[in-house]
Symmetry: C2
Subunit: 315 residues, 2 copies
């Protein structure tokens, strides 16, 4: 296979990975997948990689970053939205009232999400995310959120692209939220960023086409819905799947049932010093049943502490 | 722009188009769009082409081909489905009873569509479409349906790809139906074929992941829903839009509102000898209001009789 044999990956393709079993297995997979004489060969048009985002490509602690965007948006805009004044969750957010937030619960947070993600045009929403992603900083690391992308995972995506894999993000996060920054952060077009969706309405106002975001969730892209979204948006079974939680288990099952050799990889958060350590006690990223299936099916479990030489590019 | 200046399109890129205003305008658009010194320049990452399918890339007479697939499927499978026996539309289809079909009406046809498009796994459905597309022949032309793709439009898609445009089909037809044959016919991955969707259910049966098609329409991808689908599936405003009916008017409005120079093209069916002649009196492809807007907004109206030197490759 001439095209494949000319793949150039540089002298040290996964330089932020420690030498060890995980790195070796990843390199071996790509070597076999692109060698037409190997039993592990995967034809070019079947080379599809899907990856989760929160906790797989960037952190999700203390909360998923999209929730932090939501809280920041509510605080920044409450003054100009008198109609929000008596909404309990808004009051709690503006007052930074933790007990009030707990009381508002998941329904309250969902309501806050809708306030930050609907009732505006898609252009207005995109601008609001752009402004936030360009300026907001993580409280612990004092970095912009896009600077918190895991360097080893970025190298893995680049290696996959060099081996002619198409890369799709398949995340529980909002598609519209991610599409503002993910194309640049991950080097893929917006169409390859799949997430949860709100309904959108099309109208012509004063002769101008306008798309307005509605407070109506169409596809919560998690668990069983991940393989459903893969079918709906990509129309093809993946051979590589990257994830970090039980929410990714269904798409890993779907991937590992591929008739071509597959690689399923779970990022395990084991490093409280450089990042975070968690598995079952967490708001986001519960990891339990997927680990059991990983053991049965020989999915690759990556231990961030042991396998990552670097977590972030700026370390 | 070095990358653009090396574009090679062959000596006669639109050879199945007659020399004339339409062909000249298309060629001029691509020349300007890829010349960074030209006011018509479009940056590479903004080069997005969306195209309708039925009546734009292949015929839709006497009925849309997916409906013919449905009728063929019902006839071929009625014997093994005793539970269909008393369904009026099935009876009418099996008996080839035109009056009964008329009586069943749109609701009956929708019911027939669901019988042919749900209650089976995605693998089973894909196989049934594959089998049909490989064997069924059009009653008038005695050709396989994929041999009825309009040669001039195929050349236009190829020219766009050579100029580094990404090509997406955005059709009212079923996404799952098209994705079986469109990737090969149009040279694009399944993920770039967007259409109407049924809901899909994910389960693990006997340890095997299974996706089952459900009789529930999620997105009828027509009219206002076309720009909505473009936002949801592509996340980017197109600069080229190809269509043939009022169902494409909204996505043409959306395209022509792009801040970059756009090209909207309407295929007008004017050739009863080589193909079909219709505009307002048709089951599929009603063209009326889009023509009015085309005149106001200088969208390119292509007259199949005058502008196509060839309609089909085999002529
Ligand atoms: Ca995750
Ligand atoms: Ca059409």
């Amino acid at each position: 296979n001439y095209a494949d044999s000319t793949i150039v990956t540089g002298s040290n393709p996964l330089s932020s990975w420690k030498d060890g079993a995980a790195k070796q297995r990843i390199l071996a997979y790509f070597k076999a997948a692109t060698d037409s004489t190997n039993a592990g060969y995967v034809p070019v048009d079947k080379r599809l990689l899907v990856t989760d985002n929160d906790g797989t490509l960037w952190p999700e602690q203390p909360f998923p970053f999209q929730l932090i965007f939501t809280l920041d948006f509510i605080r920044a805009n409450a003054a100009t939205h008198p109609e929000w004044k008596n909404i309990p969750v808004v009051k709690a957010i503006v007052a930074n009232d933790k007990a009030g937030l707990m009381k508002a619960g998941e329904r309250g947070l969902m309501q806050a999400m809708f306030l930050a993600h609907s009732g505006m045009t898609t252009d207005q929403f995109d601008a609001s995310v752009r402004q936030w992603i360009d300026t907001a900083r993580d409280a612990r690391f004092h970095k912009r959120y896009t600077e918190l992308v895991y360097q080893p995972m970025l190298e893995l995506l680049e290696l996959a692209k060099k081996h002619r894999f198409r890369v799709f993000v398949v995340s529980g996060g909002g598609a519209d939220f991610m599409r503002v920054w993910a194309p640049q952060a991950y080097g893929i077009p917006a169409s390859q960023v799949i997430g949860s969706y709100n309904a959108v309405k099309y109208e012509v106002k004063d002769g101008k086409p306008v798309l307005t975001k509605l407070p109506e969730n169409i596809l919560p892209d998690d668990k069983q819905n991940k393989p459903v979204a893969i079918r709906q948006f990509i129309g093809q079974q993946p051979v590589i799947c990257l994830g970090n939680s039980d929410g990714d288990q269904a798409m890993m099952q779907y991937t590992s049932a591929n008739k071509y050799p597959s690689l399923c990889l779970i990022v395990k958060h084991t490093d409280s010093t450089r990042e975070y350590q968690y598995d079952v006690h967490t708001l986001s990223g519960h990891l339990e049943t997927a680990l059991k299936e990983a053991a049965q099916k020989n999915w690759l479990v990556v231990d961030m502490q042991k396998d990552f030489a670097k977590v972030f590019a700026w370390e």
